[in-house]
Amino acid sequence: MQTTRLAFASAAALGLLLATGCTTDAPTESQDDATSGAPSGDEWFVQAEYDEQLAQRDIEPEGDPSQPWLQAIEPEWIDTSQYAREGGDATVCFSNASVSNPWRVTGWITMQEQVKVLQEAGEIGEFRHSDAGDDDDQQISDIQAFVDSGECDALIISPSTTATLTPAVETACASGIPVIVFDRGVNTDCATTFIHPIGGYAYGADAAEFLVENLEPGSTVLALRILPGVDVLEHRWAAAQEIFGDSELEILGNEFTGGDAAEIKNIVTQYLQRGDVDGIWMDAGDGAVAAIEAFEDAGKPYPVMAGEDELSFMRKWEETGMTAIAPVYSNFQWRTPVLAATMILNGEQVPAEWVLPQDPITEAELADYLERNADMPSLHYAKFGGEDLPGFPDAWRDR
């Protein structure tokens, strides 16, 4: 049922409209508030956002290229003088969705190291955080607790899910403190600034375009996905479908793996038993090495592959010399929110929507990034952007 509908959506020019009409569950959902909202109960594809993100990849970001976490793409600077406070030592609060995967673990270390620097500089006094363990309801409580305490001078939120955190973020905004949202967004622009890399469409497109360019027409591609229903991941797949739809590649299937290496290896092995797989598209690089090993163990040639900037994959890539790309969902974005908080509390201008650069790592840059991260554990992200922090490399290496 899903595949027919997916095919339906991508085949028809009016796919979105038609598919919406076919859905009985949320037929009359209003389509007007197209902020960053996901279309309710339906395909995760918004043409305008897709076009915008793909265009943003080619825009030169403002700011110093050696500090990508402070760069911004087409920023619209806003005045924050209303939040300026004297005396430094601000209490900054952070509601984290979770540290339940290596990407978030890496980013969280980077953020803490950045906070230490700001604390030594006297900008931040106390840094409080709560972790919701991926539970939306828990995170709503966490945010409420910070707001009710009345002790936060600024509140940083990394939402667990886009739509569901919206009311809580609105409440936080209404309390009058500056609110900084990063990574996943929410369906309101009440936050002082929303920090994120270009986004899921750009990620999925980087990966899909690489496969289209590097595979002969008629080649077969297997898509490996983590889990359904998460917007940042669904956008990646939606963009890939858009690009594969216009190509001559044959998509063998898309499978959910939970990011579990054993599941990935098992699934890829089964596909290889039934025929050749020429390319692998992944919506996140977790377990990418297991996919590659499935080819090794089956005695098949390496596929053309889109992984992620996780070091285990990049090291395997170099070792095997396969044709690959590492799309990046910029991990250095974890530095930006605390820096933004101090800027806002100093009354400095910040972009209303702070779009960070998001460039994939290509073969030409592979050696360089591996060199820079030589000491790092395998489940670490190459573009973590913390090399200049005093805690480097111990904080990440000996975590």
Partner: protein, 334 residues
């Protein structure tokens, strides 16, 4: 003749027949979709990947048949793989010492589960749920949130490789041999005095205790066996696919489902080790069938849930009939 019939009843009757029938139906389905599956290499690959689950099922079988649950096995498998990666850290020479550490750790976790359940009288659901939380959190505290280090080639050999260049099948995976050894061990163990006491304990612990069985010891031993099986499964899974942050997650529910599908009664006292392991094979084959059918990934849980309920309900129906006839011979479940 009588013995033959009772042997057949032991194997196929009392609800356990359902799982073999189900396994045959699923394998037939796979054959219909893709006859090539039964050519050596694919079948060997399937068995290699299913081996850890069959081994986990064998371990879980002892715990369930003795009247308990072990919800901590998934977390234990994950913990073992992460421990191995961190301690070995890519050094081949550390492989054997670390394997010994893992063995000690697995047995200890089982022992702790067993002692909390039997000595402190905490229901095993809560004991092992608590252990799940403790293992999940402790292992991440220890590694700073995500696994570090690397496994050695020697460690990975058992889960990943096998005896190569065998005629017909290509490669006989080491994992398959380990699975057969563990399976045979489990079946033989159930035929010993220990096995009979485990079964009697699960069936009616009071009666077992009155007839001189050391109920607490036997139940603790069952948990230790489960810890052992999780350790072996961890070695195989880590070897098969390497280390990842999610390894082992959710395995406990899969394994318990597989064992129950094998006709082993939750609450204890009924079911065979062979059928429990067949239940594991049936579920793994079902996942393979889904894959062969290219069933949309999001729909799979629904089909899986329906099949599990139907199979267990069917087995329950079957069981009520022979049970009525043989009621005087066997102690009826509670």
């Amino acid at each position: 003749m009588q013995r033959l019939r009772s042997a057949a009843a032991a194997l196929f009757g009392g609800g356990t027949g359902t799982v073999f029938a189900l396994l045959i139906v699923i394998l037939a389905g796979i054959f219909a979709m893709n006859p090539g599956f039964f050519e050596g290499p694919s079948l060997m690959a399937f068995l290699k990947q299913a081996a850890p689950l069959v081994i986990l099922a064998a371990g879980q079988y002892f715990v369930i048949v003795s009247g308990n649950f072990d919800l901590s096995v998934g977390a234990l498998v994950g913990a073992q793989v992460v421990i191995a990666a961190r301690l070995i850290d890519g050094e081949e020479s550390r492989t054997v010492p670390v394997l010994l550490v893992m063995l000690a750790f697995g047995l200890t976790v089982g022992l702790v589960n067993g002692l909390i359940t039997t000595v402190l009288k905490v229901q095993s659901f809560i004991t092992t749920l608590g252990m799940l939380l403790v293992l999940y959190g402790a292992i991440r505290l220890w590694t700073g949130g995500a696994p570090t280090g690397a496994l050695s080639e020697a460690f990975r050999k058992v889960g990943r490789h096998g005896i190569d260049d065998v005629p017909l099948v290509g490669q006989i995976p080491w994992a398959l041999l380990v699975m057969l050894a563990v399976g045979a061990g489990a079946i033989l163990l159930m035929r010993t005095r220990f096995g009979r006491i485990v079964m009697a304990t699960g069936d009616n612990d009071l009666a077992a205790a009155l007839s001189g069985a050391r109920v607490a010891t036997v139940r603790t031993a069952a948990f230790v066996l489960s810890g052992l099986s999780a350790t072996i499964a961890g070695v195989l899974i880590g070897g098969f696919a390497g280390v990842s942050a999610q390894v082992g997650e959710g395995l406990e529910f899969t394994v318990i489902t597989e064992v129950v599908l094998g006709g082993v009664a939750l609450g204890g006292g009924r079911g065979t080790a062979l059928a429990a392991m067949a239940g594991a094979l049936a579920i793994e084959a079902l996942f393979t069938l889904f894959n062969q059918m290219a069933l949309p990934a999001t729909l799979r849980p629904t089909v899986q849930g329906a099949i599990i309920i139907a199979a267990v309900a069917y087995a329950a129906r079957q069981r009520t009939r022979p049970a009525a006839v043989t009621a005087p011979a066997t102690v009826s479940p509670s």
